[in-house]
Amino acid sequence: MSEEGDAGSITDWPTYGWSGPQKEKYFLSEMKRLTQLHRQACPAYDKIVGKIDFLSQDMISLETIPFIPVRLFKLQKLLSVSKEEIIKTMTSSGTSGQAVSQIFLDKQTSALQVKVLARIMADVIGSKRLPMLVIDCKATVSDRLRFSARTAGILGFSMFGRQVEYALDDDMTLNLERVEKFVSKHAGQPILVFGFTFMVWQHLVRTLEESGQKINLEGAILIHGGGWKKLISDAVDPQEYKERIKSVLNIKKVHNYYGMVEQTGSIFMECEYGHLHASAWSDVIIRDSRDFSVCKDGQTGLVQLLSVIPHSYPGHSILSEDIGRVLGRDDCPCQRKGTYFAIEGRLENAEIRGCSDTFNG
C-alpha cells in the first residue's frame, strides 16, 4: 500500500502557499483517491454514494466529488478500516439526549490530524511552544472515558503549549488568583490562550465584566473555536467579541477557528482581517440548500467541507448544517492563498431558500 508514503508527502504541502490551479491539482487528486478508497473499504458509504450516482460525473472537479450529510455520522457507524485498527473514537459534544457523531480513528488518520494541525498552528504562533492558558477546567481532560470534541480540542492544542495552566476550577468558576500567578510568571513573553468560544465568553469575559476586574494579557494570542451557537442569546458578533476581549483582557491577537470533529486537524483559521482560510489540506464549497447546486462566490448557502485527513472513516467530503459564503480566493489582504470565507449561522436559524445574495435585502 502506498498510503503511508502519500500521507508523508501530504504533510509537506505549503500551508497557504498554493493558489487556485496549483491547489486543485494536488487536492483534487487526493480527494479522488480518498473517495475511491472509502467506496472500496466502507460498504455503507459506497451504497449511499452509489445511490446518489455522483460518479456519473467522474470527479472532474472538486465540485463533483461526492459529499454526504454530516448528520450521517450520528445515525450510522461509518468506518473504512477493521475494528482492530481503531485506536480512538471521538464524539461530538451534543447535549444530553441528542445523538452524537462517532468518528473512528486509526493510527494514520490520528497522525495526520496532529501533523496538519501543527502546520496550521505554526503559521499563527510560530514554531516555538508558548506558555499556555486554557480557558476550561482540568476535569475536562481528565475524563478519558468520554472523549468529547472539547477534550480533543484542548489536548490537540496543548501540544503547542508548555507549562499549561487551567483558568477555571472544576465547577467552571474563574480562579483569578491562579490566572494572575500564571500571568506574572510569564510576564513579557507571548502566551497562548486557548478555549472554546462560548467558554471564553461566559466564564472569562462575562465573569470579569460582572465583577469589574481586568487581567492584562498583553502580547497573548487567543485561539478559540467551537461555534457561536450558544452566544446567539447574548447577540454578540465576532467584532464585538474581539472588542470586549480587548477591553477586559488586553488581548489584541484573537483568532477564531472553524472546524468539525468529523475533520479534526484541518481547521480553518481566521486571519488578522477576520476571514476564515482554507489551508492546503482543506477547502469549502457553498451549496444551495434546495438542490445542492454550487453557489457563486459571495452568495450564502450550505457549507460543504473537504479534508484530506480522514482515512479511517468516509469524512473527507461532508455537507454541514452551517451556512456561509465564500469571500474570495487567493487575494486576501493577509497574503494567504486559497479560499477564504465567513460562517453566518446554522441552517435551523437561517431563513435562506437557495443561494442568496448578502446585499439584496
Partner: protein, 79 residues
C-alpha cells in the same frame, strides 16, 4: 539518578507501568495509559526531569520508548 533512571521514572510515573515493561514494545497507544492525555503528561514529566523544552515536531514523533531515546539526544540528553 542518572539519565536512564530519570527517563524510566518518567514513564513509570506517567503510565503506572512496571520497569520490565520499558522496552521497544512500549509504543504510543500500546497501553491504555499512553493515549493523548498520557502523552502530554509524559512530555511534561521528561521536560521537568531534564529541564528541556521539546519542539512540537518532536512531541509528535515521540512514538515509543525507544524512539524517545533518540529524540532526547537532540536535547543533549544521553540515555
Amino acid at each position: 539518578m542518572n539519565n536512564k533512571e530519570k527517563y524510566d521514572q518518567a514513564f513509570i510515573e506517567s503510565f503506572s507501568v512496571e520497569a520490565d515493561a520499558l522496552n521497544e514494545n512500549l509504543t504510543y497507544q500500546s497501553i491504555a495509559e499512553w493515549d493523548s492525555v498520557g502523552h502530554m503528561g509524559l512530555i511534561a514529566a521528561l521536560e521537568d526531569a531534564f529541564d528541556i523544552m521539546m519542539d512540537t515536531e518532536d512531541i509528535i514523533e515521540f512514538g515509543s520508548y525507544t524512539i524517545g531515546i533518540d529524540i532526547m539526544k537532540k536535547y543533549k540528553v544521553e540515555i
